[in-house]
Amino acid sequence: MSNPGNLKYTASHEWVKTEADGTLTVGITDHAQELLGDMVFVEAPTAGRKLKAKEECAVVESVKAAADVYAPVSGTVTAANSELDGTPEAINSDPYGAWIFKMKPDNAADVAALLDATSYQAVVDSEAH
């Protein structure tokens, strides 16, 4: 699966989608779910929580391992995807649809500084060696 060109990415394997109202939707990339394998548990941050960029704010657990999810930018959590409570495997089957949380960024310009799909792919490729 290629990384959608309309998203931004972090080197810690989150994807970020900017919605029309400026809200950010955050999930983990196809590469991240592939590394982790079958997802069995997601712990998302609660709405209202203030996040600093690169702060650990969610946990995804596969059969194999637990992995932290990091805030892509500073801001405030506005929603968590409660559907993942019952269907964590959606992250495996649809990584760019199965969002984990939404947030309002403190500074919209921070989002522009994140990686684009090509730069993120370079990060993935460099990890493979």
Binding site: D38, F41, E43, E61, V63, A66
Partner: protein
């Protein structure tokens, strides 16, 4: 990075789309897609595992039985029929576990031992050192040139019989935990999944063809990821996790494998008798949402313990664990497990958690 060791099936795994990982220095398949699907495949039908990284060690010569009587914590005198197998630990003088293993009695001058991959070299060194002192005429020869394929699941034996002409006649009457030779192959009704099936040793050069033949008969490949969740559900110990050189068998749920009743002496016996266990291995079932993992701390009314193997049980769809806890902890007790910044509720349960296709908890 030193190059990883490969089994004779390495190319076959890659061709089947395996995700390969460094498993204790071996380049091994962790899954071929979904670990959970592979797990269910074995519980409900059958699957095959490459366990060629495990090592076969033959101990031969007059007096093998007497030597093993001294070397192993379980008593090889339980083995009277050719082909019968016994699970045992091999202990240090201080009672710590060097390794767990299966020993097969073949003839009075030949016992075959299968040991773990990561411990094989130290195991063989230890055996040779003990033999030099107690039985210098024995030969101890390991067989890294033998591959091993485990076929496990309710339909495993039937599939092997279909794939391997002549094997049915030889192996259909094998009772569990026994083996038979078939030419250069060795067919054992053993496993590490809690399901019926075979573990088959064969020359490395024959392994890719046999693997491909099993695949043609519909046997799916299963990675080491599912192997771990299957063995955990089956309540089987994993060396280096549930026991090691600093923890003895009596505190690792393995008292049933230690013969302290017979008058025979064995390495580690004096220490086990001098140090009665204060801890024990129990099963845990997580009641809250989350996943139990190795090394998480367990808080009980009787003191602290630690998870030795924790994961998600695909059969129960809950998280389960083995944990070493103070002796006072009883089945049915409620305990708390520290998971990151939270304390999660778990219940102490009997294990195995699942076997023969069914959840037991």
């Amino acid at each position: 990075m030193p190059s990883l060791k490969q089994t004779p099936l390495n190319a076959a795994h890659r061709a089947m789309g395996a995700k390969m990982v460094d498993f204790g220095g071996w380049d091994m398949p962790v899954n071929y897609g979904s670990q959970i699907e592979e797990h269910h495949q074995v519980r409900n039908d059958c699957g095959m595992f490459d366990v060629s990284h495990m090592r076969v060690v033959d101990v031969k010569g007059d007096g093998v039985r007497a030597f093993l009587r001294h070397l192993l914590a379980n008593n090889v005198d339980k083995l009277t029929l050719s082909g019968k197998a016994l699970y045992s630990t091999m202990l240090l003088e201080n009672g710590g576990v060097i390794d767990d293993l299966i020993v097969y009695f073949m003839r009075e001058n030949w016992f075959r031992i299968v040991v773990n991959a990561g411990t094989a070299d130290k195991d063989i060194a230890w055996m040779k050192k003990q033999a030099a002192q107690h039985a210098p005429k024995l030969t101890i020869v390991d067989h890294p040139e033998l591959a091993m394929i485990a076929v496990q699941g309710p339909n495993a034996r039937t599939k092997v019989w279909e794939a391997l002409p002549g094997s049915k006649e030889l192996s259909e009457h094998l009772i569990p935990f026994s083996a038979v030779e078939m030419g250069s192959m060795f067919i054992a009704r053993t496993g590490y999944t809690g399901e019926d099936g075979f573990e088959i040793m064969l020359p490395a050069k024959a392994a890719p063809f046999f693997w491909a033949t099993l695949a043609e008969h519909g046997v799916k490949p299963i990675g080491l990821g599912a192997r771990d969740t299957l063995r955990l559900e089956a309540g089987m110990n994993l060396y280096g996790h549930d026991m090691n050189e600093s923890v003895g068998p009596l505190e690792s749920g393995l008292a049933w494998t230690v013969d302290l009743k017979s008058p025979r002496d064995f390495i580690g016996k004096a220490s086990l008798l001098a140090h009665p266990p204060t801890r024990k291995l129990v099963g845990l079932l997580l009641l809250d949402r989350g996943v139990l993992r190795d090394h998480q701390h367990v808080h009980s009314a009787h003191g602290e313990g630690e998870i030795t193997s924790g994961s998600f049980s695909p059969t129960l769809e809950k998280s389960i664990a083995l944990a070493r806890v103070p002796n006072g902890v009883q089945i049915g007790d409620s305990v708390q497990v520290a998971v990151r910044d939270k304390m999660l509720a778990a219940r102490v349960v009997k294990y195995p958690f699942a076997r023969n296709g069914k959840g037991l908890v």
